[in-house]
């Protein structure tokens, strides 16, 4: 019996997810022994046409990280879907849209204009936009185009499993690989991580007060924080609204949770839920007092949907501003 | 520190009621308020206009309102009861009737004006009691009018149909104001009874009877003077003594504006306050109690 074939691919992502695969360290050797890696552009040289030539469903599992931002990514996603038995959205970007998903607050043109024309790092007179096609000696090279909307993998193709995290921890990656190799798979569509929130595994849990009564909110850089629960210190922590499984690496490391594992299976919109929870526990009762307390959360979208905007109920800014 | 008000005098305060303006301006000045008269104001829309075509009357009024809003002071002062009522009525129509609002906005638009309904129209009594306050007023009194018996007479228009700052049936703001400057208020049940209004000009008999009833009752209750807030009331009560006397015998009691009494208490001169314009002169004030020196 031949070894199962596995593919790794990256789309709109920072590369951190690829690092996690490497972070499996010696474990990766065990994995590599048991599988055939048929595609891993970050580490090995494979060609698009090699994959295209493979029969459909001949790859046992594809781990795809990154959001779908460009036409090329979309095409690869569709191709790998066709060739794979299991397609796994790997990491926050493929799962929830991730940081790239925050671009859904702006029109594409505004983003391009800023990045290639208005950004302070671009010297005057050197503003230029990348060409989409370039012909030389009769050969045309093309660049993929940017979609208007940043999408999660499952908004483009059918996804079998999700491995959450920015990036997924080695532990959670190993759990996914083990499940795959052992054939002990959860129901299709599952997120391979515990289905309760992070507080459960946070060492600061015992310092939670029984009553919140928030009177102000601070952002992490505005406050010297101690070892207590961040919320008890008035610092927004997404822990209560975020899936566990990361072993609370951020809160252990002194930073509040920013929500990269996404919500539990029972929640449709992570941002709405943490908003509901935090606001319910304000101390203020008068409108202006409430407003004053909430002024400590100047950017609710960026705070509550840091990873999840593309996957949120609204997905994207609804009425984009007219071109400026 | 001066507070500024927009000021709409209306025709009366420049004509038969000029004593009202003559006393109003210095009294407000003494209270630290500046009244800035609307430039190019027009008829408020009262009486004839109101009787013939209410909407046109409101259009006239709204031009004044629009100018006041443009002037930018917080409130518009309308001392004449008729102006006060028409301006307020127009504001109500603007708020309540989309049809009238449409006509008015169109008319204003033709002369490049707009009115958003912001600037409230205030009566001097309202401003004195509720903005300035009796304590401030008491502080300005140099010569309390102790012993002067006053019948407070409000007329109809500042409390009917809208009673925004006082009771519709038993208004008391002027009572409190005059009490604060030392006057003795006689209980006067005819505070808001008709003065005869414009009937005195068209159907003199019932008109004069109305005026006579008020004069007679004020005399009967021992008043030295009737205090009023309305130029038309003042005119009807003060201007027809001759005719009244011919029919019912003498009913001689002066009718003055409340601002004239306030001016006296503030130590201003009688001429300065237009007191010489009344047909029935006020009796000399009771001698002030000899002060320390």
């Amino acid at each position: 019996m031949s070894k199962p074939k596995v593919a790794f691919y990256w789309c709109a992502s920072c590369g951190g997810c690829e690092e996690t695969v490497v972070d499996l360290a010696e474990d990766i050797l065990g994995v590599v022994e048991k599988v055939d890696i048929v595609l891993w552009p970050v580490a090995m040289d494979f060609k698009y046409k090699d994959i295209e030539a493979m029969p459909d469903k001949s790859i046992t599992a594809t781990f795809l990280n990154g959001a779908i931002r460009m036409t090329e990514q979309e095409e690869m996603a569709r191709l790998l879907r066709r060739k794979s038995v299991y397609l796994i959205a790997y990491g926050s970007c493929a799962h929830l849209g991730g940081i790239p998903g925050l671009a859904n607050q702006f029109p594409r043109e505004q983003i391009l204009k800023f990045n290639y024309e208005d950004a302070p790092t671009i010297p005057k007179g050197e503003q230029t936009r990348p060409l989409t096609a370039f012909t030389e000696e009769g050969r045309t090279t093309t660049l993929p185009a940017l979609h208007n909307v940043v999408r999660t993998l499952d908004q483009v193709v059918d996804v079998d499993y999700y491995v959450p995290g920015c990036p997924p921890t080695p532990k959670i990656t190993r759990a996914a690989v083990d499940a795959l190799l052992s054939g002990k798979l959860p129901p299709k569509g599952s997120v391979i991580a515990p289905d309760h929130a992070l507080c459960d595994e946070c060492s600061r849990k015992d310092t939670k007060p029984d009553k919140w009564d928030f009177v102000e909110f601070k952002r992490p850089h505005q406050k010297l924080m101690d070892e207590k629960c961040f919320l008890a210190q008035g610092v927004v922590c997404m822990g209560p609204a975020t899936r566990a499984g990361c072993d609370a690496v951020c809160t252990e490391g002194g930073m509040p949770c920013t929500g990269c594992f996404g919500p539990t299976s029972r929640v449709r919109d992570q941002g709405a839920k943490i908003l509901s929870s935090l606001c319910s526990n304000l101390a203020a009762k008068e409108e202006d007092e409430i407003e004053a307390t909430l002024a400590g959360i100047p950017d609710p979208v960026g705070t509550f949907y840091r990873y999840g905007l593309a996957k949120s109920i609204l997905r994207r800014k609804i009425n984009l501003p007219a071109k400026s | 520190m001066t507070t500024k008000y927009s000021y709409f005098p209306g025709c009366s305060l420049k004509g038969i009621g000029r004593a009202y303006e003559e006393s109003l301006l210095p009294v407000f000045r003494a209270l630290g308020c500046e009244l800035e008269e609307l430039e190019d104001w027009n008829c408020c829309g009262a009486t004839a206009y109101m009787a013939v075509d209410e909407v046109k009357a409101c259009v006239l009024a709204s031009r004044n309102l629009a100018m006041a809003e443009q002037l930018g002071h917080k409130e518009l002062l309308a001392p004449c009861s008729a102006c006060y009522l028409v301006l307020n009525k127009t504001k109500h129509y603007l708020e309540d009737s989309p049809a009238v609002r449409g006509v008015i906005q169109k008319a204003l638009a033709e002369v490049n004006m707009t009115y958003s309904g912001q600037t409230p129209v205030k009566h001097p009594l309202d401003v004195m009691i509720n903005n300035i306050g009796l304590d401030e007023i008491k502080k300005r009194v140099k010569r309390p009018l102790t012993g002067l018996k006053v019948a407070p007479y409000y007329g109809c228009q500042i409390v009917r149909p809208y009673a925004t700052f006082d009771d519709q049936h038993d208004p008391v703001t002027m009572d409190r104001l005059l009490e604060a400057i030392g006057c003795e208020i006689v209980r006067f049940p005819l505070k808001t009874r008709c003065c005869g209004a414009s009937l005195t000009g068209t159907l003199p008999e019932p008109g004069l009877l109305c005026a006579k009833i008020i004069l007679a009752e004020a005399l009967k209750r021992g008043a030295d003077v009737i205090a009023t807030v309305c130029p038309l009331c003042q005119f009807n009560l003060d201007g027809y003594h001759h005719n009244i006397e011919k029919k019912w015998g003498p009913h001689r009691i002066p009718t003055v504006y409340f601002t004239q009494l306030m001016g006296l208490a503030f130590g201003l001169g009688e001429r300065e306050l237009g007191l010489h314009r009344g047909f029935i002169p006020m009796k000399p004030l009771p001698a002030p109690a000899a002060a320390g020196a």
Partner: protein
């Protein structure tokens, strides 16, 4: 559209015509036809009256015949008939919570004017219910035992009657009254219309029966300050105000009153509307119950500003002697009562006549309120029933009674107070009888619906009382002319709308028939007992016709004028009804609680504690062993606030779980 029915859910849908109440504005057959196309619907019918017996039987028959396992009825408000239909579904053999109701009457046919729009709305609401009911789970009604004791708040005729009814049925009743004596307004009346019975003669026997009834604990001079718990299990905190008399020791001999250092009564007598005087130590009126004196610290020499100063000779203490009933050191005490049901009978207050300055009350001494006249014509009143004016000697020769003072007026109270026409005529009769004066009654409309009421009006007409139809413009002391005999009189100016001209009529005395309004602290009482008030300030009944003495809080009933203006017979009838409702609950022994409580799924809870402080009933606690939150369903009242706030979606509310609500949202919005 293909009907996906992958599940085994079988929904029966019924749309009710409600006669023409719904059918006139909603095309019911069209709604039924549309719903037939929705997923899982196996049966869809329209029917004339779903709530009728045949309607309910239809549901039961269909459940059996078509193997329905979910039912949706589109008819009136669930607040009205949800119970009825749940009952029908249960009788059909299903769990009663496999039911959803659609409100297409109150929220649709009655409030819209375009049949196409109303029908479209009905379809969408029906679709929401169909999607929702598919998510319903079987639930169990919780039975909670009912504490058999009852509380009655307010000791007027309503409270007295309700307490007596309960007590006679063998229930223990606590009757709380804030004044020193029970009796309420009725105790102040002289005679009652239209029979002219002496009010005291019919009331005082009931009062003393309350005072002596073994099943009634009378807590006079007391107020309820706190309410905890829920139907069947209320804990009520009652504040007992110090009356400086030990109730058990006072025999009502009144020696203390006689021997008070004030030889003459000097202070405003509240019971006599200030027309009489009392001493600092007093008994409100001769038949007061309990027959116990009270000391008013505001006027007693022994106190200053309510503080004990011991500056008095304490002649009352001496007079009391061995009985030792006087205790100047008495303090406020608080009493906790356990009761299962509560009846609120806190009554009304009369309109403050000073709010209509044109009638001169408070300005002209001889303008009276009707309640003052009640005391003035009363033999046990301040003048012994001798009707004299405020000078204390002159009898009025002419009296004008003005109806509708403060009533039927946009500027004051818009409602008709129902009793003023009748009591005005009663007073007209009594005043005429006492003084022989000419009596005029000024009315807008004469409202005499009631047994013997119109006949009473006829009798008055025969007696020669003058009735003038017109709303009085003003009462003034301004005399127009000597010839009209107006000098020194009060002149009523009125447009006589039958004669068609304005009249001025001089009187010696003017009586203002002030209307009834809600007690000034009705809002506080409402909050205390978790009730609602109507826009006019009276307590709101659960349903004006079908649940007139119930409130939106289970186990709390209302009766008498606290619910709206009414006369004595209606008040007593209502008090009886409230007592019967309470008895029905008590004798059932338990109540069935709506199973809309929330619960936490233990393995899903992360123990973030976000929900802990949100529960006003402290139903959520933290299990420190498991480090997870737990909901005590017995304490949960089902608001769902914690459910909405749980950041990991680990709290579920029965009957209102997320999936049910999301389906409903989907249903009202899904495009056709």
């Amino acid at each position: 559209m293909d009907k996906p029915s992958k599940s085994n859910i079988r929904i029966g849908f019924y749309v009710c015509h409600c006669g023409s109440n719904i059918a006139a504005m909603v095309d019911c057959p069209a709604v039924a036809k549309y719903v037939e196309t929705l997923p899982n619907v196996v049966l869809s019918r329209d029917y004339k009256y779903m709530c009728s017996d045949p309607g309910q039987e239809l549901i039961q028959k269909d459940i059996a015949e078509f193997k329905l396992n979910r039912v949706v009825v589109a008819s009136c408000s669930p607040l009205l008939h949800e119970h009825t239909f749940r009952g029908a579904v249960e009788a059909g053999g299903l769990n009663p919570f496999f039911f959803q109701m659609v409100n297409i009457r109150e929220h649709d046919s009655w409030v819209h004017t375009d049949k196409a729009e109303a029908t479209a709305k009905a379809k969408e609401l029906a679709r929401a219910a169909v999607l929702r009911v598919a998510q319903h789970k079987a639930l169990e009604v919780k039975k909670v035992p009912i504490h058999p004791d009852a509380l009655v708040v307010g000791g007027g005729i309503a409270g007295i009657h309700a307490a007596m009814t309960l007590a006679n049925a063998g229930k223990k009743v606590f009757l709380v009254e804030r004044e020193p004596s029970i009796g309420g307004h009725m105790a102040k009346f002289d005679k009652t219309f239209p029979t002219l019975d002496c009010a005291a003669c019919i009331l005082t026997p009931k009062m003393s029966a309350v005072g002596t009834h073994p099943n009634i604990t009378l807590l006079s001079y007391s107020e309820v300050t706190k309410l905890d718990g829920y139907v069947g299990n209320y804990t009520v905190t009652v504040k007992r105000k110090p009356r400086y008399i030990i109730e058990d020791k006072c025999t009502g001999c009144q020696d203390c009153i006689v021997n008070c250092v004030y030889k003459e009564p000097k202070f405003r007598d509240e019971f006599n509307e200030g027309l009489g005087k009392r001493k600092p130590v007093y008994i409100p009126f001769p038949q007061a119950t309990p027959q116990v004196v009270a000391i008013d610290p505001k006027t007693c020499l022994n106190f200053r500003n309510g503080e004990l100063t011991n500056k008095c000779k304490k002649s009352c203490v001496t007079a009391c002697g061995e009985k030792q009933a006087i205790d100047f050191n008495q303090q406020e005490t608080f009493l906790d009562l356990k009761v299962g049901t509560i009846i609120i009978t806190t009554g009304f207050q009369t309109f403050d006549a000073k709010r209509m300055p044109q009638y001169g009350y408070g300005k002209y001494p001889n303008v009276y309120t009707a309640l003052e006249i009640e005391r003035l014509v009363n033999t046990s009143g301040p003048t012994g029933g001798h009707v004299v004016m405020r000078d204390g000697k002159t009898e009025p020769k002419s009296i004008g009674i003005i109806h509708c003072v403060g009533s039927r007026d946009k500027k004051t109270n818009r409602w008709c107070s129902r009793v003023c026409c009748m009591y005005s005529m009663k007073l007209a009769h009594l005043l005429k009888e006492h003084t022989g004066a000419e009596v005029y009654s000024f009315y807008i409309d004469m409202r005499t619906p009631g047994k013997g009421y119109e006949e009473f009006y006829d009798k008055l007409l025969e007696e020669g009382v003058h009735f003038i139809r017109g709303r009085v413009g003003e009462v003034t002391d301004w005399a127009m002319s000597k010839e009209e005999m107006e000098e020194g009189k009060l002149i009523i100016r009125v447009e006589d709308t039958l004669a068609g001209y304005v009249r001025r009529i001089p009187f010696d005395m003017v009586v203002l028939a002030t209307g009834m309004e809600a007690q000034s602290d009705a809002q506080d009482v409402r909050r205390l007992f978790n009730m609602s008030c109507g826009s006019e300030g009276f307590f709101l009944e659960r349903h004006p016709k079908l649940a007139p003495v119930s409130t939106f809080t289970e186990g709390i009933f209302i009766a008498g004028a606290c619910q709206g203006p009414r006369d004595i017979p209606d008040t007593v009838a209502q008090a009886g009804a409230a007592a019967a409702e309470a008895l029905a609950l008590i004798d059932k022994g338990h109540i069935e609680q709506e199973p809309n409580t929330a619960y936490i799924i233990e393995e899903e809870c992360c123990g973030c504690k976000s929900c802990l402080p949100l529960c006003p009933y402290t139903a959520i606690t933290f299990d420190t062993g498991k480090k997870k939150a737990v909901i005590n369903e017995a304490l949960c009242k089902g608001c769902g606030t914690c459910v909405a706030a749980c950041p990991s979606g680990s709290i579920v509310q029965n009957l209102f779980d997320d999936d049910e609500i999301f389906s409903e949202i989907q249903g009202v919005l899904a495009h056709e």
